[in-house]
Structures are given as structure tokens and as C-alpha cells.
């Protein structure tokens, strides 16, 4: 079995299994905690505000723009860039088709590659911010840095593989697939789980405030 076969086959399969089982276990563990129903009459529509908050938190309130506007835009751009590259790079679509049986139109390499480059630069800036900003220095642990590395690896290896740089294409592709496996395995055990947890956490704040008639 070549490295590429291993990366495509058992490594990816196990990574997917660990990802799904781990994420389900963590999410179920959280949702299994109970919560009491409020007994006071509500002032507003809690449920509606809950759903609204899931969407509205993509943009901070205008009053915060001066303080966090730049960081927010960079963070939004990073997330959008990452999702764009994952979903619209032609070879990725082929991979998803094999996995899910679904496909969609891709975007030309001449667009995807610069987007991937910008995304990587944004990630590097996030890393620099994390090691320099006093608040982030206080909050960050090894897990936060590991997350940045684990997230950067698929981007770096993917760009190198498609540009046929550094190593043989097959080897680079294998490394790319292995880095994706690492990413998947890392999700349930790290803050990357926020890709799922942002839903219940935003919704819950929205519900709590909405119940009191307050916009979250």
C-alpha cells in the first residue's frame, strides 16, 4: 500500500469515524444536561429571538464596530475563504461526490488559489495576533496553537500539491489527505467543535434574552 493509498483509504476512513463518533459523543454529552423551563410569563418570543441570534451574531452590533470591526472582518473573511476553498475547488467536489454522491459546479483554479492564499495569510495574522495581543496571550493554551497548526496544514499542503511544489505530487497529495484526517480527528477534541456549537450557544443566548423581550 502506498502512502497515498493509506491516506485515501484507512486513514481517511478512521478519521471520519473518529470525527463523527467524537463529535456526536461530545454534543450528546452536552445536550444530555437538563434545564428547567422558566415559570415567569415571557415578555417576548424566546424561540424566534433564538433563531434570529444564530444569524445576527455573524455581524457585531454597530456600537462594537470601532473596537472590533477590523478583527471581525478578518475573521469573517477567513471563515468564508476556508469554506469557499473546501467547497468549490474542483478536486474537492470530486472527493465529495465519491463520499456523498452529490456534486456541484466548481470554481476555476485561478480564483480558488488566490483565495486559499489570502485565507492562509489571514490565518497567519490570527496566529500573530494570538501571540501578541495581551488578552489572547492570557487566554491561549497549547490547544489554541495546535488548532491553528492543524487548520493551516491542509491549506499549505493543498496549495503545494496543486502547484506541484516541494514534493512529488502524489506524496504531497497524500500529505494533504493525511492533514485533513488530522483536522477531522482534532475537531471533537478541540475548540474546532465550534463549527457545530455556535448553533446551540447563539440560539440559547437569543432565547434567554428574547424571553425577557431583549434583542440579543
Amino acid at each position: 500500500m502506498t502512502l497515498l493509498d493509506f491516506a485515501r483509504g484507512p486513514a481517511m476512513q478512521w478519521a471520519l469515524i473518529i470525527f463523527l463518533a467524537g463529535a456526536t459523543f461530545r454534543l450528546t454529552g452536552i445536550l444530555l444536561f437538563g434545564r428547567k423551563k422558566p415559570l415567569s410569563p415571557a415578555r417576548g418570543n424566546a424561540r424566534l429571538e433564538g433563531y434570529k441570534t444564530i444569524v445576527s451574531r455573524f455581524m457585531p452590533n454597530a456600537v462594537f464596530h470601532r473596537r472590533i470591526g477590523t478583527v471581525h472582518i478578518m475573521s469573517l473573511a477567513w471563515h468564508m475563504g476556508f469554506i469557499f476553498v473546501v467547497l468549490f475547488f474542483q478536486p474537492h467536489i470530486v472527493f465529495f461526490e465519491g463520499l456523498l454522491g452529490l456534486s456541484w459546479p466548481g470554481v476555476a483554479n485561478s480564483i480558488v488559489m488566490p483565495v486559499a492564499g489570502i485565507t492562509l495569510v489571514l490565518l497567519a495574522l490570527a496566529f500573530l495576533r494570538r501571540i501578541n495581543h495581551p488578552v489572547l496571550k492570557l487566554l491561549s493554551g497549547a490547544g489554541d496553537f495546535a488548532t491553528i497548526i492543524v487548520t493551516a496544514l491542509p491549506l499549505v499542503t493543498g496549495m503545494l500539491a496543486s502547484a506541484h511544489l516541494v514534493l512529488k505530487y502524489e506524496t504531497m497529495l497524500a500529505l494533504h489527505l493525511l492533514s485533513i484526517s488530522l483536522f477531522l480527528v482534532w475537531v471533537p477534541f478541540s475548540k474546532l467543535m465550534h463549527v457545530v456549537l455556535f448553533l446551540p450557544s447563539r440560539k440559547r443566548l437569543g432565547e434567554k434574552l428574547g424571553y425577557k423581550g431583549v434583542k440579543a
Binding site: 415567569s40 462594537f64 475573521s75 450557544s201
Partner: protein, 448 residues
């Protein structure tokens, strides 16, 4: 209306009294292991799905700091909101989280040293204002967890002595600052004699049970008078209850479950017994969530009465066209402070604004208003805690920066402790803006 001579004297006396509570009670004697055990027990008992989601979802982006009054004024990372929850998070991760077996390898258990280190973080350095939750991209409710952390400190016998004193007084005498039934009667008779208002105490068959507070009995008598005048004007069938008139709930502020329940049930039982339809909370911010949201949970069933705060009650009357007010002449420009507990934690925003409009005042909002309003700096009982003074100053600075930008001649408030904190802050910083009670303004501008 600015403070007249009588109120200035009362303020000096009251402020002096409120700032000298430290050391009036003996520190709680407890073995260190017992403190740690009890604190952990609180974290474990209070954890629910919200706690789990909150503690699991944080991405450590640090943005919450950018909403906190204390960080904004100082840029000191120690005020980072989520960092105040480190102990709670560690206990959760080690004992409750789905991957606890993994966390135990990397996360150290909490110690007595940690408890002592974090005590000021959850008391002095956080007013549980909740503004940080408004910026958090994950929507994490930090204030709620700071409250749980305060509860853990209380159980561990590590509550600041000033709050301990207040809780013990409320538990024992049922009063705050010694404002007992005798003092209440003295104050009511004084208002009756000077202003000719009608006073009702323990009146059977009343529709509305009004609460007041030691702060208003001692100091902000204009708010008490304004409320009584307006209720009389509206021909509301109201009463005070001689054994349940104190609205303040230091149990809720300090994080003492026992005291909170005790005080809440005194009011709930009295109002239920009297068969009133409404309990009217005074201009005392935290009383509102204590009665409006928490009381039913504490009772274990829905309350048989509705709960409103004065600005809400009078504001609704204005909005429904039932309360007309005289216009204050001179195109006066004012700004409004939404007390965190009545606004962001209460949802009362439109009503005070309707009153301001009815009074013919021009409202210049602070840049952060309504649910985004800044705390006055001294919320959650911190206005009494001596060691919180420097932090309070930071919060006050943040708040006043926005207030001063409005160009308003007066700052309107519907919370006595915010008002006290503004007056005290002014003394320290030399700010001069007039601080007025909304209830007092309404009472002074009733049509003839």
C-alpha cells in the same frame, strides 16, 4: 431636580455609612479543604445544559474584553470576562464534560489558593452587567456564570464582608441599612406632612403592593414621593406591606441562594396573602429580575400576581394615554441610563423613553443604549465593596465618557444604586451632570 441641601446632607451621611461596612462581620471560619469542597459542590450542582454549552463553545477569541467597561477603561487583560470563569471551567472540565477523562490529564484541580485569587475577579471586577455577552460571537452568557461563581465563593465563606453584612442584616432583620418599619413610618409620615400625600399600609383589598427600599427611605425620598404621588394621581388602589416592604435582595447580588430565597419568599407570601394583582418594585434595579424572573422559579410555580417596576408601570400608563404629564419647559436635553438589571436583564426600554417624551424632554441617547448600555460601574452590590473602589472608578469612567458626549444637562436613572454610584462617582471625578430619578420627575410633573 438636583439634590437639595437636605438630600445632600443625607447623601453625605448615607454614603459614609455605605462605605464603612467592611469588617463589621467576622470572616467565616472554615477549613481550607472544606472551602474547596463546598465551592466545587456549587459548580457541580448548578451546572446545566446552558453551562455546558457556554463552557464548551468558547473559542478564546478575547472579543468579550472589548465590551467590558473595566477592560475598555484600562486595557488590562486581567479584566477579560471569560477569564473570570476559569475555576468554574476547570471544575466542569474535570468532573462533568463529556471528555472529562481526557481533561483530567491536562487540567489541574482547583485549590484554596485559586479560590482566593479568583474571589476579586467574580466580585470586585465584574458587575454581572452582561454586556460581554452582547459582543461574544458564540453568544456565551458570562454574567450568569459569574453569578454561579459568586455562589461558590459564598458557600466557601469567601464573600466580601460588606455583602456578607448586608445578607446577614436582610436574613435577620429583613432590612437594609437599618431601614425598619419604624423608620419607614417616620419617612411616610414626613412625606404626608410635607407633601399632603395619602399613605396606605397593610390596606386590605389593594390591587397593587408597592415595595420600597432602604436606599429610598434614607436617601432618595424624592423617588419614593414621586411614586406615591403618581399612584395617588392614577387612583391606583395601592398599599405597602409593613412586614414585606424592603425590595432589595442582597442574596441575589452577592450570590447567596439562601438569602435570595428567604427575601423573595417574604414578598411572594405577603403579596399572595394580600391577594394583590401587581407587585410594584421601586427604582432598585436588581429587585426587578429578582421578582420578575427569579421569584417564580424560587416559588416553584407561577406567581399569582404580575411584577412591574415603577418606570415600566408609569411608562405603560403614558403609552396607553392614561397618564398625562406637564411638559418641562426650556427644551431641556437629557440622557438616559438603562440599568443593566432593568434593561438588558429586564427588557424595560420603551417605557422610560415614553415618559421622557411625555415630559417634553429631548433625549440624546448614549452611543451604547438599551440592551448595549454600559453599567454605571458599581452594579451587583459593588458600590458597597471597598476593595472594588478602583475598579468602580474604571467603570464609571467608561460610562461617563459616553454620557458626556451626549451634551445632556441631566442623566435620568430608574435605579437607586446606579444613582448612588453616579453621585459617588461625581464626587471622585468632579463630573457635574445632574442625576435625576424618573419616578421623582413623573411625580413632580403631574397635571394639576
Amino acid at each position: 431636580m438636583s439634590m437639595d441641601k437636605e438630600m445632600q446632607d443625607s447623601f453625605a451621611m448615607f454614603y459614609g455609612m455605605s462605605q464603612s461596612l467592611k469588617g463589621l462581620v467576622e470572616p467565616v471560619d472554615m477549613e481550607d479543604e472544606e472551602r474547596v469542597r463546598k465551592a466545587k459542590q456549587v459548580f457541580l450542582n448548578k451546572a446545566n445544559r446552558d453551562t455546558a454549552i457556554n463552557l464548551e463553545a468558547c473559542v478564546r477569541c478575547g472579543l468579550c474584553a472589548e465590551a467590558c467597561q473595566f477592560y475598555i477603561a484600562s486595557e488590562d487583560p486581567k479584566y477579560t470576562p471569560i477569564a473570570k470563569l476559569d475555576l468554574m471551567k476547570r471544575v466542569y472540565q474535570r468532573e462533568l464534560s463529556p471528555f472529562r477523562w481526557l481533561h483530567r490529564i491536562f487540567t489541574p484541580d482547583i485549590t484554596i489558593g485559586d479560590l482566593r485569587e479568583f474571589q476579586p475577579k467574580v466580585f470586585d471586577e465584574c458587575t454581572m452587567c452582561g454586556r460581554c455577552s452582547m459582543i461574544c460571537p458564540m453568544g456565551i452568557d458570562i454574567a450568569e456564570m459569574v453569578h454561579t461563581s459568586r455562589e461558590a465563593m459564598v458557600e466557601a465563606g469567601l464573600m466580601p464582608s460588606e455583602l456578607d453584612y448586608m445578607c446577614r442584616e436582610q436574613d435577620g432583620e429583613g432590612t437594609i441599612f437599618g431601614a425598619n418599619e419604624e423608620l419607614l413610618n417616620f419617612r411616610l409620615n414626613d412625606l404626608k406632612e410635607k407633601h399632603g400625600v395619602e399613605i396606605f399600609v397593610d390596606k386590605p383589598g389593594s390591587d397593587v403592593m408597592m415595595l420600597t427600599s432602604g436606599l429610598d427611605i434614607h436617601l432618595f425620598t424624592d423617588a419614593l414621593l414621586g411614586t406615591i404621588r403618581t399612584l395617588d394621581h392614577l387612583k391606583v388602589n395601592w398599599t405597602l406591606c409593613s412586614h414585606a416592604f424592603e425590595a432589595a435582595n442582597f442574596g441575589l447580588l452577592a450570590g447567596s441562594d439562601k438569602t435570595q430565597k428567604h427575601i423573595t419568599m417574604r414578598i411572594v407570601d405577603a403579596a399572595t396573602e394580600m391577594g394583590v394583582k401587581t407587585v410594584l418594585t421601586p427604582e432598585c434595579g436588581h429587585t426587578y429580575p429578582a421578582m420578575r424572573w427569579a421569584a417564580a422559579e424560587i416559588s416553584g410555580k407561577p406567581l399569582p400576581f404580575e411584577v412591574m417596576t415603577v418606570s415600566e408601570f408609569f411608562g405603560r400608563q403614558v403609552m396607553e394615554g392614561k397618564l398625562k404629564l406637564k411638559k418641562i419647559p426650556g427644551d431641556k436635553v437629557v440622557t438616559l441610563h438603562d440599568p443593566c438589571k432593568v434593561g438588558r436583564h429586564g427588557g424595560v426600554f420603551d417605557e422610560p423613553r415614553a415618559i421622557i417624551k411625555e415630559l417634553g424632554l429631548k433625549l440624546n441617547e448614549t452611543e451604547s443604549n438599551r440592551e448595549l448600555n454600559f453599567c454605571c460601574g458599581g452594579g451587583a452590590g459593588n458600590f458597597l465593596v471597598q476593595s472594588a473602589a478602583p475598579v468602580r472608578k474604571l467603570g464609571f469612567q467608561t460610562k461617563m465618557k459616553e454620557v458626556n458626549k451626549t451634551g445632556a444637562e441631566a442623566l435620568l436613572v430608574s435605579c437607586g444604586s446606579c444613582r448612588l454610584n453616579f453621585e459617588a462617582g461625581k464626587l471622585n471625578t468632579g463630573d457635574t451632570i445632574q442625576v435625576d430619578s424618573i419616578a421623582a420627575l413623573v411625580g413632580e410633573n403631574l397635571p394639576d
